[in-house]
């Protein structure tokens, strides 16, 4: 049992607020005071009402339990009971509560440091970050140092204020942009103008309109919360001039983003409203993450109002303020909820499958596909694994033959049709087709202009397609082979030729089909498809392994919280295994690697494929696509078209792959050319 921390109520101005709950709190606080604030152990003992040996034991305990790790893991502070109570009560995304007292640094500087720590964990590449102004916001900006991101924009949330204060909106935004290696965007107007007429005139200025449009795209905002006391930021910034003005705001208890709110958090509309240039409360609510950094007993009412009104959904504050907010809200210490013990799920020996005899799965699925799409495709008589297009092949057109193992449905038969491939050879599960069906497909596709093979770079496929090409050459059929290598995770850039060919094949098949459909000769088709392959980049990650029908067991092991980055489409292990991350972090991880190789210039066009590896649902794919589009927009890259869905699967593997085709005008024209197949139809 941890001893109780004792509140020294009679100690005048050194009010030490107890945590609401004990558990690890005392241990964490001791660690903070010692490591973050540099207090001696005797100081801590006195402040916390503990014996010095207890403090010593706490600190040792904190170290051995990995709580102290040079810096205190901010996650641990989220578990503090005040933070947890605030988070639960106000439905916050996150809440960080630091000790009110301790150390030489003023509270504002320490809140700034804590806010900077929080922001560092939230801000992502491609973000647009809005910033208000004030002492705490500037302290946060000054404590911030997080330069490793790409394409971040920092924008003022309001126009400028009097330069009599050092913490102006311009200063806060500029300092924060510098710390994030971001572009700083001002609002080129005063926050308060002399009249509503002046405001409407200014709002029509193109420069200001453009800046306000960027402000409307903000993903996050960092804001202070001002009380209405005479020395508060809102007063010193010149928002409330004279008692007459003040009379309009008698219901107001605080101010955020230069707007006034009452005790319930409702807007207080006064004469300043129509004279303020900057984000309003309605627009503020549309920003997904609204981080308020504020502390001090004088601010309790203002912060409480901001939380009640839902204006902030992340709060960084100190313990006394946090406790004050909870007390004012009538929060009672409820008995700790019992955490139900989670019994581990029983290990399953077999994955459930809708199959008949496992050995028949590939053939039965293929037969079903042929029936489902009987107007588009058929199997060659006597060669059931050679699937050909009913419409498309014609005299003088280069034949496109694709193929690979089964298990990637709708690949490969899904890309057979007019404007796409003329034929596909399908192998056994994850195994290249033998030369027989490839040769039959070749003979069918050859209409006198030669045949182009396109298949992913796997040793089995290379052997079998090469053997088929030799046999075709004996029959005087001109065959060229494009071995696709879009999977950037599978080999470093200097050995690109060793990479696997995966979901990016969809783009490459499309380009090839369109080139042939335009009756381009074999040489031209080959060179344009080679270019498409060189400009296609794919990277995937797996959440869960797939399981073949034969074994009905996962083809690899992945821990309950692990993901496999760079996984192959046959369940081959990827490049690295790591802890499960969010959709946005996953999208960033895949996209960052792709962009680092692609080196697109601003204004370039790409096509995007967000592909399910099998069992990941459309909902998750669209979440990923949304993030990819945000990032591409932030980078100034145009998106020509998007494909979202199970285009190139790996049985029932859960996970996603992201493919980008870096377009040029010719590739763009070929990509949008009409085609008609089971998996891809363009008018």
């Amino acid at each position: 049992m941890a001893p109780r921390a004792i509140s020294k109520a009679g100690d005048g101005d050194t009010v030490f607020a107890m945590p609401l709950r004990y558990g690890d709190d005392a241990l964490l606080w001791a660690a903070w005071l010692y490591y973050e604030e540099g207090l001696t152990q005797s100081d801590i003992a006195e402040k916390m009402g503990l014996s010095r040996p207890s403090v010593n034991a706490y600190l040792a305990d904190a170290r051995t339990r990995g709580i102290v790790n040079i810096e205190i893991d901010p996650d641990k502070f989220r578990t503090l009971s005040i933070a947890q109570a605030l988070r639960d009560h106000f439905g916050l995304q996150d809440c960080l509560v630091i000790p009110t007292d301790g150390g030489d640094r003023p509270l504002i500087a320490r809140l700034g440091a804590a806010g900077a720590q929080a922001l560092t964990r939230f801000v992502k590449s491609g973000d647009t970050l809005a910033v208000t102004w004030g002492r705490t916001v500037l302290a946060l900006a000054e404590a911030l140092d997080h330069p490793g991101l790409q394409d971040v924009r920092v924008i003022q949330a309001t126009g400028g204020t009097t330069a009599k204060i050092p913490w102006t909106p311009e200063a806060c935004a500029a300092r924060m942009a510098e710390a994030l290696n971001a572009r700083s965007i001002p609002i080129s107007a005063p926050a308060i103008v002399s009249s509503a007429v002046m405001r409407s005139m200014l709002m029509q200025e193109p420069v200001l309109a453009e800046q306000l449009a960027i402000l409307a795209e903000a993903d996050r905002i960092v804001m202070g919360i001002s009380s209405l006391r005479p020395e508060s930021t809102i007063h010193t910034s010149g928002f409330l001039e004279g008692g007459v003005q003040h009379a309009h705001y008698q219901d107001a208890v605080g101010s955020i983003v230069g707007r006034f709110i009452d005790a319930r958090g409702e807007p207080v509309i006064g004469p300043m409203h129509e004279r303020t240039i900057g984000i309003d409360l309605a627009a503020l609510r549309r920003i997904p993450q609204r981080i308020a950094v504020a502390g001090g007993v004088d601010k309790v009412a203002a912060i409480l109002a901001a939380l009640r009104g839902g204006h902030a959904n992340v709060l960084v504050t100190d313990a006394v303020t946090g406790r004050g907010i909870l007390t004012a809200e009538g929060y009672k210490d409820a008995p700790r909820r019992a955490v139900p013990s989670q019994a581990p799920l029983p290990a399953r020996n077999h994955v459930k499958k809708l199959i008949n005899a496992p050995k028949d799965a590939v053939d039965e699925a293929l037969k079903g596909a042929l029936l489902a799409h009987e107007r588009l495709i058929m199997a060659l008589p006597d060669t059931p694994r050679a699937i050909v297009a009913k419409d498309g092949p014609r005299a003088g057109k280069v034949g496109i033959v694709i193929g690979g193992g089964a298990g990637h449905e709708p690949s490969f038969w899904g890309y057979v049709g007019r404007g796409l491939a003329d034929a596909a050879a399908v192998g056994n599960l994850f195994a290249s087709p033998p030369p027989g069906p490839i040769l039959a497909a070749t003979q069918f596709a050859d209409r006198g202009a030669g045949v182009l093979y396109i298949y992913g770079n796997f040793s089995g496929d290379v052997m079998n397609f090469d053997m088929a090409a030799e046999l075709a050459a004996e029959e005087q059929i001109a065959v060229r082979s494009i071995i696709t290598t879009d999977d950037i995770a599978s080999s470093p850039v200097e050995s690109r030729a060793a990479r696997r060919g995966v979901a990016g094949n969809v783009f490459i098949f499309k380009i090839a089909g369109a080139a042939a459909d335009r009756m381009m000769p074999l040489d031209t088709c080959e060179s344009v498809v080679r270019r498409a392959n060189a400009r296609t980049y794919t990277m995937g990650l797996a959440l869960e392994p797939g399981s073949p029908p034969e074994t009905r067991r996962p083809s690899f092991d992945l821990g309950p919280d692990e993901i496999e980055i760079g996984v192959g489409v046959h369940g081959e292990l990827g490049v690295v295994r790591q802890k499960l991350i969010s959709a946005d972090e996953s999208a960033d991880l895949l996209l960052d690697r792709i962009l680092a190789e692609m080196h697109p210039s601003e204004g370039d066009q790409v096509a995007v494929l967000v592909n399910s590896l099998g069992s990941t649902p459309a909902m998750e794919l669209y979440i990923i696509l949304r993030r990819v589009r945000q990032r591409l927009k932030a980078r100034g890259i145009g998106v020509h078209s998007c494909l979202v869905g199970p285009y190139y699967t790996s049985l029932d593997m859960a996970g996603v792959s992201l493919s980008l085709l870096h377009l040029d005008p010719e590739l763009a024209a070929l990509l949008e050319a009409p085609c008609r197949s089971a998996a891809l139809t363009l008018p």
Binding site: K359, G405, G427, N428, L429, F430, A431, S432, P433, P434, P435, G436, F458, S459, G460, M463, N464, M467, S490, S491, A498, R499, R500, P548, E550, T551, S555, F556, G568, H570, G571, E572, L573
Partner: protein, 211 residues
């Protein structure tokens, strides 16, 4: 005895198929660690189908091997289809026309099979492939054949097992597992394992017939 007849040896290939089919799950499990986990499935499919086709027929060893080769080449695909398909085709070619199989004929068969594999793949010893089993096994057989057929077969079996086990400490340089780099170290190579199964089963089958 220091030779067996070529005729009437359908059972040798059936015994091979039996071992491969029995080890289907194990081979797939090994493959799943660094490959795609289908090795056992595809091998069992090819060898199993062959066994169905030759069962009850009276065939020479080379004729039975040719059926196996055809099935592997034309119905299995993947990389193992061509690799083992060509290996058995060339092995059969070396046996063709021989009535008796002695140490010399068997050596010619092994070397032809090795050449067949090397003709289609380009792996070297140390790349963590079936070559790591096949090359030392053939070398050991040749080195011991002067002592007689049976000792040479025993030497081949031992060398094949050592070759298979050598792949544990290797980093894959070819095939799907090569993309894993250092992560491919510490597990057996599935091809080296199935090749060891083929050679040791073949060796024991012949040894039993020599005894």
């Amino acid at each position: 005895m220091n030779a067996i007849t070529n005729a009437g040896q359908t059972a040798i290939v059936e015994e091979l198929a039996e071992v491969i089919v029995a080890n289907k799950a194990w081979l797939s499990e090994i493959d799943g660690k660094i490959g795609d986990g289908d090795h056992g499935i595809n091998m069992a499919k090819g060898f199993g189908r062959t066994a169905e086709r030759i069962h009850g027929k009276d065939m020479t060893l080379d004729a039975a091997m040719l059926v196996l080769s055809d099935v592997l080449m034309s119905e299995i695909g993947g990389s193992m289809g061509p690799l083992y398909g060509l290996m058995f085709e060339d092995m059969a070619g070396a046996l063709k026309g021989h009535n008796q199989l002695d140490a010399e004929t068997f050596s010619a068969m092994l070397n032809a099979g090795l050449a067949g594999v090397q003709g289609v793949g380009n792996a070297q010893v140390g790349d963590k492939t079936l070559i790591d089993t096949l090359v030392p096994a053939v070398t050991a057989f040749d080195a011991a054949k002067a002592q007689g057929f049976a000792p040479a077969l025993a030497a081949m079996i031992t060398a094949a097992e050592q070759g298979r086990d050598s792949t544990i400490d290797l980093v894959a340089k070819i095939g799907r597992a090569s993309r894993l780099g250092e992560r491919s170290r510490g597990v057996l190579d599935a091809g080296a394992t199935s090749c060891c199964m083929i050679l040791t089963t073949l060796g024991h089958s012949v040894l039993r017939r020599l005894a």
